[in-house]
């Protein structure tokens, strides 16, 4: 089946305006009778809920944290792109669009990416109006900095806490609607199923993480803003509770999963220090504005303190290999080069698993105060974690999983192939192709939530008003979904009870399996992939899934706060998703952006695309084995039409 992305006709710059002009509207007096569920309260979720509430819809918002403000968008450090062209360095909507398409290695949908660039300036205006304290120049104007993959300074920031400030702005707007009575808030709830009736998304099943109650919620439409599945790697920069379960349950109810193998490995993270490490911490890409990446020229110098390695014996390999972009090459290029250096034996630090990010030149040229003002909190964070002072000693960094470009398939209106199920933010696949540029995730979350979902969802409600009959939680679709949720929880409890009877060497904790899953995914579906290991990964995922159910032990009280039970359900879903990621990576027999198949590279070691055969979005349809586990997946393709840009080999040299 070929998927129709439902893109409006016309020139690129007129598409979104034309679509908005043709959208049907819901009359003000009808809006309070329309129920909308928004799952997730990060940038996409909070901005969707706030905007839909302001319009007058009856919105219910759900999050797994104890407060909506804790969503993982809060941890985004560096900034948000917009085409304001305040620095007068030649930026424009076209240029941001082009950088994003090129950065994504020509694997994203032109029309969506262009619209993202069009909305970018409005986001800054919206956030400023909300009182978001962006960095300012002395004259009172907004300040900008540069990010990877761009030759203009278009990134707006609030020290190293841009995500926090933007999220608190969106959260504040949402809380205002809670106060106004248009938004009801359901914190510490995990969405465990999507309810589909007559082919339409009509509600969700949640579990209250404080008391275990399983609840039914009805709606006329559901907006999924539940972020990415990067925690499948166990070690990542994602938050501990970030997971893929809500999206995966939608997938099992019929929503297609698109390009799941596109995973971004962020080049500048603090390397792993030990076996029990629970997460990796990102050091913002903005640091590459002033930091220089290097390793020793001579492998024998790797053990020496960096201060004893003179300038002449250092290899600033990004500046050497990519003179045009230098330390500001896109993330996939920077990550692969760091891995290359470490693999070739140039790794530094106690575990020889890092490269240096050095600020000495910038401190000498611009002064310590300048660096402190721009990156103070990042330097502090680094020191807290490593015990080393980056003003004195260069940072040690290494790539880590950070973001997934893959996600649920959506059309131009951000609606999945299940009518009434909209997907926004990192949870959808739409805008970044095979690699996301820095400072574009915040932009996409807010573009989706403030400026797209409110209009496209209204259109859906208006167009389908005769098919969206009144719905009650007593209907059989809800009975069935709730039964399934309860069965899934009981399966974990039963498995644990069974496995407790086994000898202890045949038992595993949830975290044991989770860590092994992470290792398996990292080793085979990580920075580099190759056919044989991907084939074996598919089998190993199935084996590990079998082992999980036959060895897992966990605390089984289902009516209390029980973190292990929550995580067990997420790991069970990840074990299925992992198989699909490996399959998707195997099927895509080309390199593109972050998907680097070693079989397909240029003589200089860059990703080599195959536009003839793979210029499409791979959208996978789930096939159940009758027992709630995947039998396999059917592939659907959305052909990527490049009407306005010419496909080229990326060059940052």
């Amino acid at each position: 089946m070929t998927l129709d992305p439902n893109v409006p006709e016309g020139p690129l710059h007129e598409k979104w305006d034309r679509r908005k002009e043709n959208y049907s509207l819901v009359a003000p007096n009808n809006k309070p009778n329309k129920d909308v569920i928004v799952v997730g309260t990060g940038l996409a979720g909070a901005s969707s809920a706030a905007s839909l509430g302001e319009m007058g819809y009856n919105v219910k918002t759900f999050c797994i944290s104890d407060s909506p403000r804790r969503a993982h968008s809060i941890a985004a450090q560096g900034g948000i792109n917009a085409t304001k062209n305040y620095p007068n360095d030649g930026d424009s909507i076209w240029r941001l669009f082009y950088d994003t398409i090129k950065g994504g290695d020509y694997r994203s949908r032109e029309s969506n990416t262009y619209r993202l660039a069009q909305n970018s300036s409005n986001i800054i205006d919206q956030a400023v109006a909300q009182g978001v304290p962006f960095a300012r120049e002395y004259g009172g104007e907004l300040a900008n900095r540069s990010f990877g993959g761009a030759q203009v300074s278009r990134t707006f920031y609030a020290r190293g806490q841009t995500g926090q400030q933007l999220l608190l702005g969106a959260y504040g707007s949402m809380m205002r609607q809670v106060d106004a009575g248009t938004v009801s808030m359901f914190p510490h709830r995990e969405m465990l199923d999507l309810v589909v009736k007559d082919g339409r998304a009509r509600g969700i099943i949640t579990r209250n993480l404080y008391n275990g109650e399983v609840e039914r919620h009805t709606a006329d439409a559901v907006v999924l803003c539940t972020g990415g599945y990067g925690r499948i790697y166990y070690l990542s920069t994602n938050a501990f509770n970030s997971n893929g379960t809500a999206a995966w349950r939608c997938h099992k109810r019929g929503a297609f999963m698109a390009n799941p193998c596109y995973v971004q490995i962020h080049p500048t993270c603090i390397p792993q220090s030990g076996e029990y490490q629970s997460k990796l911490t990102l050091m913002s890409e903005s640091l590459r504005n002033d930091g220089r990446v290097w390793v020793p020229d001579d492998k024998d110098d790797c053990d020496k303190p960096p201060s004893q390695i003179p300038e002449s014996d250092r290899d600033y390999y990004l500046e050497r290999k990519y003179p045009a972009f230098g330390n500001l090459v896109p993330r996939d290029v920077a990550s692969r080069n760091a891995k290359l250096m470490v693999d070739e034996g140039y790794g530094v630090g106690p575990n020889q698993n890092a490269v240096y990010l050095d600020f000495q030149t910038a401190i000498e040229q611009k002064g310590r105060d300048y660096i402190e003002d721009k990156y103070g909190n990042l330097f502090e964070m680094y020191e807290k974690i490593t015990g080393e002072d980056p003003y004195e000693v260069p940072m040690r960094i290494f790539p880590a999983v950070h973001y997934v470009m893959g996600g649920l398939w959506v059309d131009y209106d951000l609606m999945s192939n299940v009518p009434g199920l909209f997907v926004a933010g990192e949870a959808n696949f739409s805008d970044h192709g095979a690699n996301r540029l820095g400072a574009s995730a915040l932009m996409q979350g807010l573009s989706d939530g403030y400026f797209i979902i409110p209009h496209s969802l209204s259109n859906y409600l208006a167009e389908n008003r005769h098919d969206l009959d009144d719905i009650s939680g007593d209907e059989s679709a809800f009975d069935e979904a709730e039964d399934e949720v309860r069965t899934n929880i009981q399966k974990l409890v039963d498995a644990s009870d069974r496995n407790r009877e086994k000898p202890s060497d045949q038992q595993s904790t949830v975290m044991d399996i989770y860590k092994r899953l992470g290792r398996l995914t990292w080793d085979n579906v990580g920075i580099e992939r190759e056919e044989e290991s991907l084939r074996s990964a598919v089998d190993q995922m199935r084996e590990l899934r079998h082992e999980f159910w036959n060895s897992v032990v966990l605390p089984t009280d289902t009516d209390k706060f029980n973190k292990n039970l929550e995580v067990a359900g997420r790991v069970a879903d990840f074990l299925e998703l992992g198989e699909l990621m490996a399959k998707d990576a195997l099927h895509r027999d080309e390199s593109a952006g972050c998907h680097f198949r070693v079989e397909h590279q240029t003589d200089e070691g860059e990703a080599l695309r195959n536009d003839e055969d793979y210029s499409y979005v791979a959208a996978w349809e789930y096939q159940d084995d009758g027992d709630g586990q995947p039998e396999g997946w059917n592939l659907h393709q959305e052909d990527l039409e490049f009407e306005f840009v010419e496909l080229k080999t990326r060059s940052y040299k």
Binding site: R69, A158, Q164
Partner: protein
């Protein structure tokens, strides 16, 4: 100097749920062979793995970003919210801050407005209620004037930012003998009081937020300053002073300190 492997004696507050009575439980032999490089929460992860393996109920605690920005984690460690290191959330605390053989007490945030969910997990929805009463600038989504049409001096912007970095963890409340939420509320009030965008709702905001803070059962501020000492973001006590000034100013200007009676 910390050695490569450390042993600790834990005393942990265990409370099954909101209604149950809790008690400090001794764990003399679970936190053994701990690397000083582990974060405090990773030490607890490891302890929980050991408890699960032997069939005991793990210690309930919550965390999310584990890099000090989401505000989810919060444990009173040896009587200090977030533990002994200044400007450091529990998730960024490392075991190198302790000595081999130490006894470590772990307790939840204690405040009427933060009921215990289980063990070390508390319900902080009262903070959301305070935010709901005015922790925002009321603007609709839609076309707005260009961002640079509002000029804000760097000093003012930086000042607003310093207030805005609050992560809403609640350590200030846990540290305060009155369980006051004045630092949390004051930080939000201050951010908008200094910014031009916050002016139209300046009086309404402070009156409503302060009243909500009291309604939620938080105590009053008596200028002790433990809140700032415990705050992982070092939010300044000046924010409380500003909130009070704003409160008095608003009450005088609008005819009443009660938001229902004031002309706001």
């Amino acid at each position: 100097m910390a050695s490569d492997s450390m042993d600790f004696h834990l005393k942990v507050w265990r409370q099954d749920d909101r209604e149950s009575d809790g008690e400090l439980v001794d764990y003399p032999n679970v936190a053994h062979d701990i690397s000083p490089h582990l974060s405090f929460l990773e030490m607890l992860d490891l302890v929980n793995e050991r408890l699960i393996e032997r069939g005991d109920r793990p210690i309930a605690f919550d965390s999310d970003c584990r890099e000090g920005i989401c505000g989810t984690c919060g444990i009173v460690v040896n009587g200090q919210p977030h533990g002994p290191k200044r400007k450091t959330a529990a998730c960024q605390l490392h075991m190198r801050a302790f000595d081999d053989g130490d006894t470590i007490y772990l307790e939840p945030w204690r405040a009427d407005a933060f009921p215990v969910v289980r063990d070390l997990v508390v319900d902080r929805s009262s903070f959301d209620e305070i935010m709901q009463a005015g922790g925002y600038v009321s603007v609709q989504t839609g076309p707005k004037p260009d961002g640079n049409s509002i000029k804000i001096g760097k000093d003012v912007s930086d000042q607003a930012f310093d207030s805005a970095t609050c992560i809403g963890c609640g350590a200030c409340v846990a540290a305060c003998p009155n369980a006051s939420a004045s630092l949390f509320t004051g930080a939000k009030v201050s951010q908008y009081a200094v910014l031009p965008q916050g002016q139209p709702e300046r009086e309404r905001r402070v009156l409503r937020m302060v009243h909500e803070m009291e309604d939620q059962g938080f105590g009053n501020c008596s200028n002790i300053g433990e809140c700032q000492a415990a705050c992982p973001k070092d939010i300044d006590l000046d924010n409380i002073a500003r909130m009070r000034r704003e409160y008095v100013r608003a009450a005088a200007k609008k005819g009443s300190p009660n938001p229902d009676e004031a002309e706001v």
